[in-house]
Structure formats: C-alpha cells, structure tokens
Amino acid sequence: MNDIRDPFRLASLPQPEPPGDAWPAVAAALRQRQRRRRLYRAAAGMVLAAGLTAWLQTDFPGLPNPGDPPRSAAADSAAATPAESTAQATASSASPERTLAALMSLSQQLEARLRRLRTDTGPMPSGALVYQIELEDLVAQVDDALSRQPDSPTLWSQRVNLLLDLNQLYWQSLRPETGQVASL
C-alpha cells in the first residue's frame, strides 16, 4: 500500500523561485483577450441586429429607409417605401464610420418601429411591464453614456441590442390576429 505520504521528504525541498515578474505579461494578455471578447460581442450584436432588421424589413415594409430624412409620426405610420436592408449596409461596411452610421440608422429604425408597436399594443401586462421598464432604464443608461461618447460603436451596438429586445417584448405581447396584449 502507498499509505505513507512523502517518505523521501520531498516537501522539504526548497521552493523554486520564479525567474521574474510575470504580472505585466499576464495583465497584458488579459486586457487583450478582454478587448477581443468585446469586439466579438459587438460584432455578434451587429450581425444579430442586421439579421433582425432584414426580418423586420421583410415582414414590416413600412420601416423608414436608413437614408431617408426624418419623418413625422403620421407619415411614419403610413407605410412608405420599403427600406433597403441595413443588414447589407452593415455587412458591407468596412470602415468604423460606416459601421457607426449603420448602427445609428438601425437604432432610428427600431425607435420608429417601437413607437408604432407601443401605439398598437396599448398597456403591457404586468409581467412584461417589469421587463419593459428594466430595458428602458438600460437604454437610458446607454443614452447617458452616449452623451459623453457619441461615436462609440460599442455603445451604439448595445443600444441597438436593447431596442431589439424591447421590440421583441412588444411583439410577443401583441396578438397579431386580435391586436390584444397577450399574457406572457
């Protein structure tokens, strides 16, 4: 049986000392990975947003065009020209400026869509209301951060993701066949 631990007293060997301070290298690697993760998240958010925009454009052709001037709420509610897919704009954008422009445009489209959905949906059920308030609070936080960093693609991407969540929440709450709020 190997029931006697350390018969050679290996534990008495002197502890080898590390050759140098490895923290700068470890910290740099951690920062680099964190940056890479943020980029992946932003990219994934953009791809998701682009996909959803394409879906919204297909199913709700009244959405405003990214290049169109701002319209009144009345004009907004009357379905206009089918918009070109922001997905294509986002996907083909290589420069940060175009990415930013695509995200801003997508954010505007989602805001417009939200306005219409709010009108159609009416009051939300209490279960969804909590989530709605939470999401709107997060949007307000992102807007606050955007007031300090208006050209941050990460913040715009976060805003788009939150608006997508809000859109989805309203869409799930609405029974399309009756226009009534569904119980979540």
Binding site: M1, N2, D3, I4, R5, D6, P7, F8, R9, L10, A11, S12, L13, Q15, P16, E17, P18, P19, G20, A22, W23, A25, V26, A27, A29, L30, R33, Q34
Partner: protein, 220 residues
Amino acid sequence: MSGSAFDITLDDVTLARARRGDEAARERIFRLYHQPVYAIAYRVCQCPELAQDVTQEAFINALERLRQFRGDSPFWGWLRRVVVNHAISALRRAPKHDAIELEEYHAAAPGDAGRVELGLDLADALSRLDPEDRAVVWLYDVEGYNHAEIAGFFGLTASFSKTRLSRARARLRELMGPGMNPRDTSTDQPASEPTERDHDREQATSGKSPYPAGVPAGGC
C-alpha cells in the same frame, strides 16, 4: 496533511472584485499565488522556461474564468487544479528526449564519478525520474492528492497512479543509493493489477521509451 505551499487564504472582497474584472484585485491574486504556482509547475515540468509558460497560461486562464469558481471549496484548491492541469498538458506537449543511461551520464561527466555510490541528492534524483512518474509522486506525496484525483488529471485509472507512484519511489531509492533511508516505503506495491491501458502506457515508457531511465528527465 499536505505539504503544499498553496494553502493561502484569499479574502472574499478581493475575489469578488477580481471576478468583476478589477485589475488591482487580479494582481493581488497573482502576487499571492505566483510563487506556489510556479513551484508546482516547475516540479511537474522540471524546466524553468516551461514552468514560467505554464504559470502564465494558468493565471490567464484562471483569472479569466474566476466566475466558474463556485466557492464551495478553498480558492487555492481550485487554482491549484487549474495549474496542475496546465502543467500536465505542457508535459505531454513537451518534446521527449532520448534516453541517456545513468552509466553514460557518469562516463560523460568524470567530475561526478562515484556519485552513484554516494547517492544523488533528492532534487537531482527527482529530476531524473520519468516525467509522469515525477508528476505522480509529487502530486501524491507533496500536494496530497489521492490516486483517483491524480488519475483524473491524466485521464486514466487510479491503478495508473498507484503503479507510477510505486515505480517513482523505487527509482528514487535506487538513484539515491544505500545511504537513503526513506521513512517506510518497503511496502510500496501497486494496489491492484495494472489495466490493459496502463500496460500500454508502461510499454511506451519502458526500454524503448523516449523518457530516460536515468538522466535527465527535464522537459527543457
């Protein structure tokens, strides 16, 4: 009682801050455990450069995945497992050296003549073990892991660990010569018959093994 130098308590505040990505808290964890992490990496790999790489990889991995630490056991135990896993992976990736028999080593180093008779010192003897044998004996004798845990690190059965421990101790006795009088290893025997898988591994590290029966067993 384990002789591990890892047994250092980490306060909850530092852990919580590090989990949120606070760099100062992460640095504090690094400074607390740097030495024991390096020490175990070195003992398993027996190569300063490889041990340094393992240390860095293990810290990066652990600090990135702090949220996976559930807190139902001491932090140092979790960190130590991360390090041992990295060290064993590195050991397996490291290029194998041609076997050099003890006699050849002494023939090539006349200044060391007669050292066999006098017995090698403990650190030398340890460094001359087969890398996996050395890892097993260190993890069992010093870090206090049991056979099932050691087998888990290698992805093998407990009998692998028992066999390797027995072999490592026998080899240490042999290398250290008659002057060495371990506390009691006379009853060291594998507790069960090696499995077929263990047998395959034994063959891989027998006479034709890339690992030396004698010198040097480092990974560098």
